[in-house]
Amino acid sequence: MQLDFTQPLDYWWALLPEIILCVFGMIVLIAGVTRSSLEEEDGDPSFSHGAHLGWLALVGVLLAGIANGWLYGVQEVGDTSMIAVDGFRLFANWIFLVAAALTILISFAYVHRQRLQAGEFYSLILLASAGMMFMGGARDLIVIFLGLEVMSIAVYALTAFNRHDRKSAEAGLKYFLLGAFSTGFFLYGIALVYGASGSTNITVIGSSVSEGLASPGLLSVAIALLVIGFGFKVSAVPFHMWTPDVYEGAPAPVTAFMSASVKAAGFVALLRVFLVAFDASYATWYPIMWWLAAITMVGANLMALVQSNVKRMLAYSSIAHGGYLLVAVTAANQSAAAGLLFYLLIYTLMNIGAFAVLIGVARHSEEHMRVEDYSGFGWSRPVLGVVLTIFLLSLAGFPGTGGFIGKIYLLQGAADAELWYLSVILVLTTLISYWYYLRVAWFMWMKDSEAQDQHDLVQAPLPMQLALLATVAFILYTGFFPGVTIDLVNDSVHGLGNISELVPGFME
């Protein structure tokens, strides 16, 4: 099937996965209000009333996945449509769909235990994922903006979702105020790009920038503003101040969702905008990205060292991973773009997996988040202990896990662009990160439990077991046999720019 976007109907076909997610978001919402979710309080968390809505949402994700697979057989004509139908978008969609599915799976028990409104919760997750997919597939700054807002507004609401918890409300307010503030910068950047180049279409902007038609002064200001806007969304240092607070205060499944796929959506859109629209002004944004990447990696890893709350430590760890991904954006070539996609997929899996165990240990509330709460955990719950250890090793980038392959791949991209200093910083900060990841593992295996029954109440119901099994299997699989996934990401980045080849060894 060919789409040439001459008829409006072509956009419907190109947006099929997003449309399915939106429709299911509304169905779940309506199904949620037709019956009180406070019935059957003592039912099985995996199959009680609220859980039906969760399974329904999973069906929506599955159908959207089928539609996404179907889009691989569709060719687009030309490259100036508002929605891209290319491998990059489709692979990004896989990341968002996997993240949504895993988040729903690990939420069942949490939603049940905290008496959250299941319908609203799952439908907001679906709608936020649809917004992310719009961001990943957008080839027009208007669509990126709308996707960003669909995602952000849904996630603001999810952050403040637990209305009985003052921490959740406070996190929601902080996220909302700073998120809306950063949207202002992002939007002003878009307005200036539009003024400088006369279009909001990324491809058209790209050609007018490379032909020198766009006014360079206006363009530099616009790029700076866009970097601020994206910087907040991907929580790069120094725009990260909201991240630890919000990640700590938000309900744990929402934190897992935010740290994985909101960040992924930010990076995917950032990469497409800067590689396609601003490839000719690489000299302008290269130094900004370089410094952002360096400060983010160093700052976040140092701050993570002193955290005693595991959830907050994972927040800083997620900022640090954003720094590694910024290296790929700075490198701006095909292998770095492929590395970015690969790393985002692995990072999504290992981060949500780690949060799943965290939710289990916290007994579906927001307690038991200190490192000491993990002492002796490995010996009293061996399976969960081993699983969490695998996630921690993968986050640290230990050989034999997907995280290691991902980091190698990012380094490959940086080496192709001859970013030697950044590569060294990446390796050194990874070594620092071993300390705070392995500290948790050390408490789990080397310390005795504080009390005999400390870990008796740790829960991992069936949906969570499914999520853990899938993530662990994939992380080990890509750790030992990365070939298939790497071929897929390499095929996915054709058509994106390859700009740092034009300026080899730029500034270094």
């Binding site: 903006f145 003052r166 902080k174 105020l177 809306a180 503030f181 949207t183 939007l187």
Partner: protein
């Protein structure tokens, strides 16, 4: 004319930015953010004088999004007021800011 309009938009944006950074009342901060968004609208309309209708269409999207954001934002402010009985952001220090 375009220069003046862009200057106005820049001034409005800076006022909004300072409002966010200086004021401590959550609702005033939110108002300052809305001012930023409207500064962008002024710029978009000014530029669409040069480049055609796209900019003015974008303004409608910005206004729609601002309305949606206001709905969720005010709901969050109400929910935090129930816990703290204040909307002064200096008091929200349960989490290390």
């Amino acid at each position: 004319m375009i220069t003046e309009a862009l200057l106005l938009s820049a001034i409005l944006f800076v006022i909004g930015t300072f409002g966010v950074l200086v004021r401590r009342n959550a609702i005033i901060i939110f108002l300052a953010i809305e001012l930023q968004l409207n500064a962008v609208n002024v710029a978009l309309v000014a530029f669409s004088n040069l480049h055609g209708i796209d900019g003015q269409i974008f303004v409608f999207f910005v206004m729609t999004v601002a309305a949606a954001e206001a709905a969720v934002g005010l709901a969050i402010i109400i929910s935090i007021f129930r816990h703290y009985e204040t909307v002064d952001v200096n008091n929200f220090n349960f989490l290390k800011w």
